[in-house]
Symmetry: C2
């Protein structure tokens, strides 16, 4: 259903059309050529570091003049050292296996037909993201390795940085003998260019929004192009009746406070009532030390007295909030089933952890909780492509279709069936469901 073949092209659609052509050329390219292009990219980033940081300085200056928060400016800023680190990440992608061509299933039918299901690139991948220029290079490298053309639509506030980066990437790719149009920055800084990407069904195979909840929601709700929803994480730690309490404190602290601004950090603590009296004083004291503010139910507020923790009453809204800060909602629950019920109601389906010494409790929790990742006696922070051993990550999918959880290179592919016979034809006219 290519809806767009007859329409006059805007710059965005023209870019998408060029990406489509380039993707077709890239799809059958063997790994050695793609790896050579990646190495050329890594070298070029380091060599041309000065022009990249010069362009980036303009973005940073504009952001500062606009009164942008320092944390955002920090994410936006590129230095020679940071560029070297980005280049090093590209080199590590070289070492990852090429997913394209992998035979996922293969068998011979009773009639002698050979059926093979083989991984192929998705085609054209659109990435919509915020003011992190490192994503420009990461996404381009992962898409290139998996045989996809990429349309990069970064934040307007990083437009100069991204323009410089993409110029470096394209020159390196062209130098390695591949079409430069496999990597393109979506032209224009306006919101309209995002809207155009979202409607480019038939030209763009998938859109992956990465960033804040409102960006993701806009893309998910308005796009006719298939979308992979990423990122929102209202993660829970449930401390079961039979938990090792010291372990539970360690898992809780790590889940909540090791790094607070990320999607796999915990936002809510649920404690089984049978261990609440023993566990909460320990946990709340540790949370106090970490500087965490607790939004508690009545039982938690009562336990907080004298522990030194800052505690405020939890509102209905707290249970559904992804704080991304040193805040934690906390409640005492009467049972594992009540914890599961709470999670089902409020979780964004990213990651939930149980701390328990009981095998039946672990089994029941992992069966009943429907999230991308269920952790048993481990921190929620492990839900991450790097931690899972994928070597790289294009995002964490929180939807159920196509990919769920951390997405590595295989998640940037589709499959096709190759059926081989000796002139095989079908015998009887049985019903085909699909058409």
């Amino acid at each position: 259903m290519s809806d767009l073949t007859a329409t006059a092209d805007s710059p965005v659609l023209a870019a998408a059309r060029r990406a489509r052509e380039a993707a077709a050329a890239l799809a059958p390219v063997p790994r050695s050529v793609k790896d050579a292009a990646l190495l050329a990219i890594a070298d070029a980033l380091v060599e041309r570091s000065a022009e990249i940081t010069a362009a980036n300085a303009q973005d940073v200056e504009r952001a500062r003049a606009a009164g942008t928060a320092e944390s955002v400016i920090d994410r936006l800023t590129l230095t020679a050292e940071r560029i070297a680190a980005i280049a090093s990440d590209v080199r590590s992608v070289v070492g990852l296996p090429d997913p394209v061509g992998e035979v996922v299933r293969g068998y011979t039918l009773p009639n002698g037909l050979d059926v093979r299901q083989v991984r192929v690139p998705l085609g054209v991948v659109g990435i919509i993201y915020e003011a992190r220029p490192n994503v420009t290079v990461d996404a381009a490298a992962l898409c290139l390795k998996s045989g996809n053309a990429v349309l990069l639509r970064g934040s307007g506030s990083a437009y100069r940085s991204n323009t410089a980066l993409v110029e470096v990437l394209r020159a390196a790719v062209a130098g390695a003998g591949l079409p430069a149009d496999v990597i393109q920055l979506v032209p224009g800084e306006s919101r309209e260019s995002v809207q155009e990407l979202m409607r480019a069904r038939g030209l763009v195979d998938v859109l992956i929004p990465r960033g804040g909840a409102s960006l993701i929601r806009t893309v998910v709700e308005g796009s006719t192009v298939p979308v992979i929803e990423t990122g929102t994480g209202n993660c829970h730690v449930y401390v079961d009746a039979q938990a090792d309490l010291a372990m539970a404190v360690g898992v809780l602290l790590n889940s909540k406070a090791q790094r607070v601004s990320v999607c796999n950090s915990a936002e809510t603590l649920l404690v089984h009532q049978d261990v609440a009296d023993a566990f909460l004083p320990l946990a709340l004291a540790a949370l106090a030390e970490a500087g965490v503010t607790v939004h508690g139910d009545d039982a938690v507020l009562k336990a907080a007295e004298g522990t030194g923790v800052t505690a405020v009453p939890a509102t209905e809204e707290d249970w559904g909030t992804e704080y991304l800060s040193l805040d934690l909602a906390a409640a005492v629950v009467p049972s594992l089933e009540a914890a599961v019920e709470h999670i089902r109601r409020y979780s964004s389906g990213h990651t939930e952890a149980i701390v328990t010494g009981s095998q039946p409790a672990a089994r029941r929790f992992t069966q009943l909780v429907d999230s991308t990742t269920v952790a048993v006696n481990a921190s929620t922070r492990f839900t991450d492509g790097g931690e899972f051993g994928f070597g790289a990550e294009i995002g964490i999918s929180t939807q159920k279709l196509h990919a769920r959880g951390p997405m590595g290179l295989p998640e940037l592919t589709s499959t096709k069936y190759i059926v081989t016979g000796d002139g095989h034809v079908r015998g009887e006219a049985r019903q085909t469901v699909g058409g």
Copy 2:
């Protein structure tokens, strides 16, 4: 992102919410219980055959009064014999392996964490389809086996039949101890109920439209719920320079004419110029005998003279048309690459076949053609879940995300990661890309 928790419920949303609850209860149910429910369904369909055919007779009568085409009425009609066949299909689903719980990947990380990726149900599956009451039972059986709740939105013209069928299914499911709400007919016959399903993001996990191109297009373009696009098939047969001509005639005839109204039948023939003079007279005579009308380019029209085939000049529109009739577009191409280019331009990406004796040509064609299925020396008609050995099929996906080609039970699942440790926490605060 459950957008709907605060809204007042329409009957459709209320049904979706009940489905969601029922899906949560169904997800951990073991295979033996689901299989018992399927057997109960099969028995009940046969036992209550009379009330189903009585309801169906009302639909048929209304359709006939409305002047509906006989082919559509034939698809709509249920007889005791057809119901017995549908029941037998349900019994065959019992024999298929349960995809839920399958460990897709599993390994231990260097830090000792066990990671397992396990198949889980999608949750709530919405099926939107046309006037084929057999789909009601097929879809319900496949969703039940894969642990999903299903919302069935059939054609208004089959509403009485579907109401009777779903009543039988629900009673059987309840009798087997499962919540009846795992199978629901979407209330109302209006188009509005389809629109509501399409906007029920957060309640419905995936929509699968099955039927004509306009239905599929409406759902694909208007839905905020993830959609699996199915079915449109503008399939090609390419006869290469080194083809066995008798084999090519056999594959072409079977692809075009064995059953014309299905998505995996061929609509366009492409012939390499080096064999056109030898192949076309044979092929066109065979097509004439099968009653096929050829829409040819100049070379084909010239070759058609004296073969007895009905031949008309092909228009630009012909190359993009899914005839679903005894019509075939046909052209002579200068090379394999030109055939690939033609396919890339006009194909719907369903199935393309090459007939060739050349290994390099077969390899090149399968590499370059980007469709759900590429057949070498075999009919396009094999793209089918039954033919592929899946035992059952919920449709044929023509999109790249999640599932591509015939979809069986595994394609009705998602996965989740289960991560198990001994109190594992993350050591250093490295960057998490996803959020």
